[in-house]
């Protein structure tokens, strides 16, 4: 039963660390590292919760979690398996199934949305000689990227082209291209899946935190090429282009302004990443948190 305690401790550590990450603004100093930590915490939490349930329920088998689960599913009788243990094991399996279903649904929804978007974009979007992006004709300023279309995946509205100066536009294009280059849409997909599977507030907070960090990673890459100034100018133009009442259904719009402000302040501050030693410790800790419950899955009791 000691491994059961390990699972619980790991789960608690993941939850506490996640709560700390959202509360502490210092995560913004090293967004890439914070993203790695977030992914490790999520993986660790999922593995330790399912591991705790399964190990508690299948303890009588006196084997590793994977072997016990296979035996349990094969209905091989275990010595003195109590009804409550079987119930716990079933809970563990149900959680696993629930997460798998959430993953499949998230992937299919996102892919369907993107496919539809891609189709419409090829119908009404047009290539622009002046800017290496797809342009749609609309006065509201938008700038985003759509994975799967290569360089044409960056999309601008005519409102954006009119809003921004030449240098600012280049910085925005560099920002969006770095989203594509670093495949951020995959990270977003993983956290979107978690958001669908888990109870509302904690997972939603994690999702928001991760989205902000992803924007900051792209900001960093764009600032390395063009300097922070044009990016800050572009952010400020976007910010003043649209204050106003929040339309129904867009819960986080006020938070969006706060996100823009955080990004502007961060670019202006031009702070340095934490020292290499600290960064290494953080990454090592994240790997341990994620790998520990995974390793218990294969260990015998």
């Amino acid at each position: 039963m000691i491994y059961f305690a390990h699972y619980l401790i790991t789960a608690a550590v993941c939850l506490a660390a996640g709560w700390l990450l959202t509360a502490d603004g210092r995560a913004h100093r090293w967004p890439r590292g914070a993203l790695i930590v977030w992914q490790a915490l999520s993986l660790g939490l999922v593995l330790s919760v399912t591991g705790a349930l399964l190990s508690a329920g299948l303890a009588p088998y006196r084997r590793g979690v994977v072997v016990s689960t296979v035996a349990f599913l094969g209905r091989r009788p275990a010595p003195a398996l109590q009804w409550w243990q079987a119930a716990l094991a079933m809970c563990g399996l149900a959680v696993t199934a629930w997460l798998l279903v959430a993953a499949i649904r998230a992937v299919s929804t996102v892919m369907r949305t993107r496919r539809r978007h891609r189709v419409l974009l090829s119908l009404v979007g047009r290539a622009d000689d002046a800017h290496p992006a797809t342009v749609i004709t609309h006065p509201a300023p938008v700038a985003y990227c759509l994975p799967g279309r290569g360089a044409r995946g960056v999309v601008l509205s005519t409102g954006t082209i009119e809003l921004l100066g030449h240098a600012e536009l280049r910085a925005v294009l560099a920002h969006e291209r770095s989203h594509l280059a670093e495949r951020h849409h995959l990270v977003l997909l993983a956290f979107d899946m978690l958001n669908r599977a888990l109870p509302a507030r904690p997972a939603a907070a994690a999702n928001t935190a991760v989205r902000t960090l992803i924007e900051m990673c792209a900001d960093d890459r764009a600032a390395r090429v063009h300097g922070p100034a044009p990016l800050v100018a572009a952010l400020e133009r976007f910010r003043t282009a649209g204050p106003g009442p929040v339309p129904p259904g867009t819960v986080a719009a006020a938070g969006d302004i706060a996100t823009i402000d955080a990004r502007i302040q961060r670019l202006r501050r031009a702070g340095r990443v934490p020292p290499l030693a600290l960064r290494s410790v953080i990454i090592a800790a994240a790997v341990v948190v994620a790998a520990t419950p995974a390793s218990f899955f294969v260990l015998p009791w």
Partner: protein
């Protein structure tokens, strides 16, 4: 050899330019300067009907095609997606800096009426 999406765009523009449903032959005549064979036009139009981009109705032994939605409706749908204002927050896209002004947002939402088709 044109890419399929280029062909679809040309045909959609031709359909949008017409106020009423048209046969494949009408469309082929509209875009005669592009040098597309009638068979190509018909094939692509049929494929677009399957994709849900055009409607296809039999009228006096010939199919008549019409756009499912206007160009403005499609642009609005793209904008709502980009701004994450569409009904189900699918969060499939990341916008550069989301801050939509009040009038813009409500205009956008109104333009895409509740009854219009949204599907994959």
């Amino acid at each position: 050899m044109r890419r399929l999406t280029d062909l679809e765009r040309v045909l959609m523009e031709a359909l949008w330019a017409r106020a009423e449903p048209a046969t494949a032959r009408d469309i082929a005549r509209d875009i005669a300067d592009r040098g597309l064979a009638y068979a190509t036009v018909k094939t692509v139009l049929d494929r677009m009907a399957v994709k849900g981009l055009v409607t296809r109705e039999l009228d006096d032994r010939a199919f008549r095609y019409a756009p499912v939605a206007s160009k403005e409706a499609y642009v609005t749908e793209l904008m709502l997606d980009a701004l994450d204002l569409a009904g189900d927050r699918s969060s499939a896209l990341t916008h550069f800096a989301r801050s939509v002004s009040g009038p813009d947002a409500s205009i956008l939402r109104q333009a895409l009426s509740p009854g219009s088709e949204r599907g994959g």
